[in-house]
């Protein structure tokens, strides 16, 4: 506490001790084993289906590896479709009892009596969650690349690997948002079940209701009165802007551009903007990156904001609770 005073030593003293302890907990917990198994089954199932679908087109396609992630095979959606559900779930599962769990086990007082600051404890817990998520997703990524090699018999090109790695990074940071959110709720709610429910409620809100709300808001604020194209455009642009307030939109747009080099622009495109562009020609990686950079920084910014909120709440919390 005592924000105004100069504190002795580094706020990160003991950070790595916290990170390693928490990671060890995560990687051995039943909760994580279940979610890992679920992710694994999903990956194997969807990628196997995609690979058998792609086998016929092997010869013509430059971006086979990326297709493994995005090809849907009825009745299965593509792997990325599943991930958009699974990653928030895993992230929430990693953090919803981070702080309240220590209080409920009565370990908080003993922990904070060690020579560390609260900063290290909270950030350590966040990092451990992020690293665990990264570890799980990297394993899956390697598995998919391996399955691609075996199933399709074509080694992926350098740009493909780079794009799929960016996809991996984006997914980890998308998880970071939900991790930070669950961490905040684990500070505000004493019951882990309440924290988990609150996190899932926010996730449901953005997954299910936000789209509906955005449409209603756009129709209300930018009504189409006489049917001019400019009216439709204004309404569409507002709807897009609003929908990007959701981390889900940011993530799905970003991975769309990353995994599909043919995507030249996100959002509305007027014919005049396409002047000089060859339709269907793939965009180079650096231009795809430039396209999604605002999305990426948006995800990181939301994470930082949520973490800062959690930090402030945690610093004020009485140790006796």
């Amino acid at each position: 506490m005592a924000r105004s005073k100069v504190r002795e030593g580094s706020p990160w003293t003991g950070l790595w001790a916290v990170v390693f302890k928490e990671m060890a907990d995560h990687l051995t917990s039943a909760r994580m084993l279940i979610l890992q198994a679920l992710t694994l089954i999903t990956a194997v199932g969807t990628v196997y289906a995609a690979a058998s679908n792609l086998r016929d087109t092997v010869a013509q396609d430059r971006f086979l590896l990326l297709r493994l992630f995005t090809t849907a095979q009825q009745p299965l959606p593509a792997f990325v479709g599943f991930l958009a559900f699974l990653v928030p779930l895993i992230a929430i599962a990693l953090a919803f009892d981070a702080v309240n769990g220590e209080f409920n086990q009565h370990t908080m007082a003993r922990l904070l009596a060690q020579p560390i600051y609260r900063d290290a404890l909270l950030f350590g817990k966040f990092l451990a969650g992020l690293f665990t998520l990264a570890l799980v997703l990297t394993t899956i990524w390697l598995l998919i690349v391996g399955m691609g090699l075996v199933g399709l018999g074509v080694p992926p090109g350098g740009e493909e690997v780079a794009r799929s790695l960016w996809f991996l990074v984006l997914t980890v940071f998308y998880g970071g948002v939900w991790l930070a959110l669950a961490l905040v709720f684990s500070i505000t709610f004493r019951q882990p079940a309440t924290a988990a429910l609150a996190s899932i409620a926010v996730w449901l809100f953005f997954t299910v209701f936000w789209g509906i709300i955005v449409d209603l808001l756009a129709q209300f604020l930018r009504p189409v009165r006489i049917g001019l194209p400019s009216e439709y455009l204004a309404q569409g642009q507002l709807a897009l802007m609003l929908s990007r307030l959701s981390p889900n939109t940011l993530y799905s747009e970003a991975i769309l551009a990353m995994l599909n080099p043919a995507v030249r622009s996100l959002g509305f495109v007027l014919p005049i903007q396409l002047d000089g562009a060859i339709l269907g020609a793939p965009l180079p990686l650096d231009q795809s990156l430039a396209l999604i950079w605002p999305h990426f920084t948006g995800l990181v910014a939301v994470t930082i904001l949520l973490f800062a909120l959690g930090y402030t709440l945690f610093q004020r919390q009485e140790i006796r609770a």
Partner: protein, 314 residues
């Protein structure tokens, strides 16, 4: 500040909004002492302890622990001071050893050094048999001893225990008091809070009586007894003799009061252990001494009497 002062506070005060939890506390604990904070529920013991550790910010006043300011130098204080909280928890799924490894790492110890310290700390509290058992299987007494091992990892100069014997059965409590005595013998200063008076009396060199955020009495048990009970000792004299016997006993120097609960029974409140003098007085007055017993003043008496007096005054 004198070199052997371990805890020193001046005007230490803690407000929770308008509620005063600790009021203008002046406390001094010296090196090697076992100091007992006692007082009823809500007296402010835990709040005081949290301020000593820098875990709660004082509203006013100053604290020095081992010469350091806990609010400004929390890391230095917490690496030298062990704290056994009121509600002591461990990770139930981890073994005793794994729990202590985490503490050791948080204290920045290297793995081999940590290993040595953990085994020796567990041996010191008699838990060497259960090093690899999950803490979830431990009894309350074992957990409390594990708590001591946990603070010993950092080789503390001072250990602060909040209600350490609460919930222990008489034997476990006795064992635990034995551990506290050994800590003292090893030169560690101990501050403990409790409202189990006979236990405090059994291990503490000095006690402070807390009441509504204030330390109303402080000193050795004998000093408190002298102040609150008048005499520090109660001597029971059983004697047959002339009627002047009571008067003779009353005249002995150091006797504060004499009562006569039975025909041949006299009860003396005295400032010192006056058994020889009392015996001589009986004999000189021509009486026949049947028995002579001294009763140590108990903290229970002090506590009860103090609150009776408080009740009368306000």
């Amino acid at each position: 500040m004198a070199a052997d002062v371990v805890i020193e506070s001046h005007g230490l005060t803690k407000h929770y909004n308008s509620f005063v939890a600790v009021d203008n506390l002046n406390l001094t604990v010296r090196h090697g002492e076992v100091f007992g904070l006692l007082g009823p529920n809500g007296a402010g013991k835990t709040t005081t302890i949290l301020m000593l550790l820098g875990l709660t910010e004082p509203t006013a006043g100053s604290v020095r622990v081992l010469g350091l300011d806990p609010a400004r130098q929390p890391l230095s204080v917490k690496s030298r001071v062990g704290y056994l909280p009121e509600l002591l928890g461990f990770y139930n799924g981890l073994t005793a050893y794994e729990n202590l490894i985490y503490t050791a790492k948080l204290n920045g110890l290297r793995r081999d050094e940590a290993h040595e310290r953990i085994l020796s700390a567990l041996a010191q509290v008699g838990l060497e048999e259960v090093v690899e058992k999950p803490v979830g299987t431990f009894s309350r007494g074992m957990r409390q001893r594990l708590g001591v091992a946990d603070v010993l990892i950092k080789k503390p100069q001072l250990i602060i225990m909040d209600e350490p014997t609460q919930g222990l059965d008489p034997e476990a409590a006795r064992d635990f008091l034995g551990i506290i005595r050994r800590l003292k013998a090893d030169g560690i200063t101990v501050l403990l809070s409790s409202h189990l008076l006979h236990q405090v009396q059994a291990v503490c060199d000095r006690v402070g009586l807390f009441y509504r955020g204030r330390m109303v009495l402080e000193g050795t048990v004998e000093e408190l007894a002298r102040r609150v009970l008048g005499g520090a000792y109660r001597i029971q004299v059983e004697a047959e003799g002339p009627a002047s016997l009571e008067e003779a006993l009353r005249r002995v120097r150091g006797v504060v009061n004499v009562t006569r609960p039975g025909e041949t029974l006299y009860e003396l409140e005295t400032e010192y252990d006056l058994r020889p003098e009392a015996a001589r007085a009986v004999v000189e007055a021509g009486g026949k001494l049947l028995s002579l017993k001294v009763e140590q003043p108990s903290l229970d008496d002090v506590y009860t009497r103090y609150f009776e007096q408080e009740g009368k005054h306000g």
